[in-house]
């Protein structure tokens, strides 16, 4: 009996440090609903990074344990799940991917004082003064000026129609791009909001045609982008269709088929970029999940590596110190190959790194130009 009790005490003593040494990450993602493509890619990317890091011994010798929660693409559910996640005392939080969900969850995470490394792109997210919020991709304030410049200077567009989704993501992009276009003397001749999950774009495209634009800016989520592209092609809209990352993404190309050909725009992250590390990552991802990742698949992967780099900079596991370690951090691929592209995080949690201009050609995204970091 005594030996049994002794064994229990020893096991318990051994078990506690082992549990404590695990780095617990919780990913709150859109695994179903309209954002399922976003969340599933983000989750798979994060899982791949965790598996790689654990295989190499973890972060500072500690293994990562990641769990995923499904927001159902609903900000209300996201908020409840983030509260639940915080109750489990994670080291850091990953996600959500939808800007609306990030907006309602970020204040909760800020109260807990831990880092939230998310996928939202709405410009306002990092302008809310929340010190614990970090992007994994460009915000709209970084990407939209590049798109406006491309339409005004490269396409020489004088009149542009805007087709955008009426949520935080779409509205943020529309506000930013219309401001940038107008600053360059480009006239907005149609400004059309659409609903998330909308199936029929016939009426919207009739309005686009009636406005007779030189180019159309399409800023919708994945499925809606595919449906809109099909309808734009069906109604013979032959002017350039310009978007940001999503419009040229793998899922949109798969869903829209031939209608995606000719779509062009700015791409923050893509495995088709002429960067060997990104291409290699694309192959790894495809080998594991049997499909080509979109930018969200890269975001999830980079998010975990951002946490790793900042933790190694601190030299200790300090969840509340992690946000400070991330601010101002520059991560070079020479030191951390998992970061794929040299990256600098500013004081607001925004990123600076290389990006790309691309076009869909024969059902494949082709990168035409590599744009340098804003502050090399």
């Amino acid at each position: 009996m005594k030996s049994l009790a002794g064994a229990l005490v020893i096991s318990a003593a051994l078990a506690v440090p082992a549990y404590a040494q695990t780095i617990k990450l919780i990913d709150v993602a859109e695994l179903s609903g309209s954002g399922a493509t976003v969340g599933t890619n983000f989750k798979n990317g994060a899982d791949l990074a965790v598996a790689e890091i654990n295989a190499k011994g973890g972060i500072l010798g500690h293994k990562i344990e990641i769990t995923h929660m499904d927001t159902q693409s609903n900000p209300g559910v996201a908020r409840a799940l983030v509260q639940k996640a915080l109750d489990e005392n994670p080291y850091a939080l990953l996600g959500p991917g939808y800007s609306g969900s990030v907006k309602v969850t970020a204040p909760l995470v800020a109260q807990a004082g831990i880092a939230q490394v998310m996928g939202g792109e709405a410009a306002e997210l990092t302008q809310m003064g929340i010190p614990t919020l970090f992007r994994t991709s460009f915000g709209q304030q970084s990407s939209m000026p590049k798109i406006a410049k491309y339409m005004a200077e490269d396409l020489k567009a004088k009149n542009v129609a805007l087709l955008w989704v009426n949520n935080d993501f779409g509205k943020g992009g529309r506000d930013m791009v219309s401001k940038e276009l107008q600053a360059r003397g480009v006239k907005i001749v149609a400004d059309l909001s659409t609903e998330a999950g909308q199936a029929d774009f016939a009426a919207d495209v009739v309005k686009v045609k009636n406005a007779n634009p030189d180019a159309v800016f399409v800023y919708l989520n994945e499925e809606e982008s595919a449906r809109a592209l099909k309808e734009l092609r069906r109604q013979n809209v032959n002017v350039p269709l310009v978007g940001e990352t999503t419009l040229l993404g793998q899922k949109v190309i798969e869903l829209a088929g031939e209608a995606a050909n000719g779509a062009r725009g700015h791409v923050g992250l893509t495995v088709d970029a002429p960067i060997p590390a990104l291409q290699e990552y694309g192959k790894k991802f495809q080998a594991k999940y049997n499909y080509i990742p979109d930018h969200n698949g890269i975001k999830g992967y980079l998010g975990v590596y951002m946490i790793k780099a900042a933790t190694e900079k601190m030299g200790k596991l300090d969840p509340k110190g992690l946000p400070d370690a991330l601010h101002g951090l520059t991560i070079k691929t020479s030191a951390e190959p998992g970061i794929l592209l040299d990256l600098t995080i500013d004081k607001n949690g925004d990123l600076d790194r290389e990006s790309f201009m691309g076009e869909v050609v024969n059902g494949k995204q082709v990168i035409k130009t590599v744009l340098p970091k804003l502050n090399p």
Partner: protein, 291 residues
Amino acid sequence: MSNIVNLLLAGLATGAIYALVAIGFTLLWQTSQTINFAQGEFVMLPAFFVLAALNLKAPLWLALLIGLGASLLVLGAMFKLIIVDPMLRHGVLPLAICTMALSIFLKEGVKESYSAEASPFPSLFPSGNVSVLGAQISIQSISIFVFALAAVYLLQAFLMRTSTGRQMQATAQNPSVAKLLGIPVERMILYTFLINAALVALASFLVSPVYLAKFSAGETLGLSAFIAAIVGGFNQIRGAIAGGLLLGVVDNFAAAYVSTQYRGAVPLFLLIAVILFRPQGLFGRAEERTV
């Protein structure tokens, strides 16, 4: 002019799909006096039967036949035998609640077993446009409209001109008298469920290339068809057809000429107006109940 033709035909194509689904509502209402709240998911599921068959390397024509067969079995016969028959004994309300549960089960089942993401669905018709009154109309829109209307016409012809169709009508009007007349009422009710399964399968095959195959695809369709059935008249097939077509056209014109932001509200305004001024629906028959 070309815009109007374009919007009209696109609206009619969408409306024809609503009509197919709405007819299912009226058929089940006539035979079991209940509302199938899983009707939208019934439209979503056949597309996944087809995709599953395509994944097993079946050619498209065979995959469509498998999809139709599986729909007749699962959404027709099994739905009646496993859910409707046992639940109807306990009254209409438990059955209605049961179909709500079925709706959730089907959605979650597809999400877990297939994918939460949208999947492309092969088009049954060639892409490209034809010129109608100066407007470029997609062959797909015209084909959807023609196929859906042909299905409705065949159904009407079957119900009006065949002995089985008349027996089904008699069963719908008064099952007790139909039984006294020697009509196999149970079999007629089963036929109704099989026809509903065939209609939703057709709607699924027609709409999925445009709407994409997704576990949640039935939510909007089910709601729109439900509104169409009420607007047209819940107890008349012609009402469901008229309601569906009207809703599709009104939705498109409202989005183009009123407001894209409020397009979702327009069918609901239509619904309220019909309930206020013609509660039996545009083509429905007023039903009286003895208290």
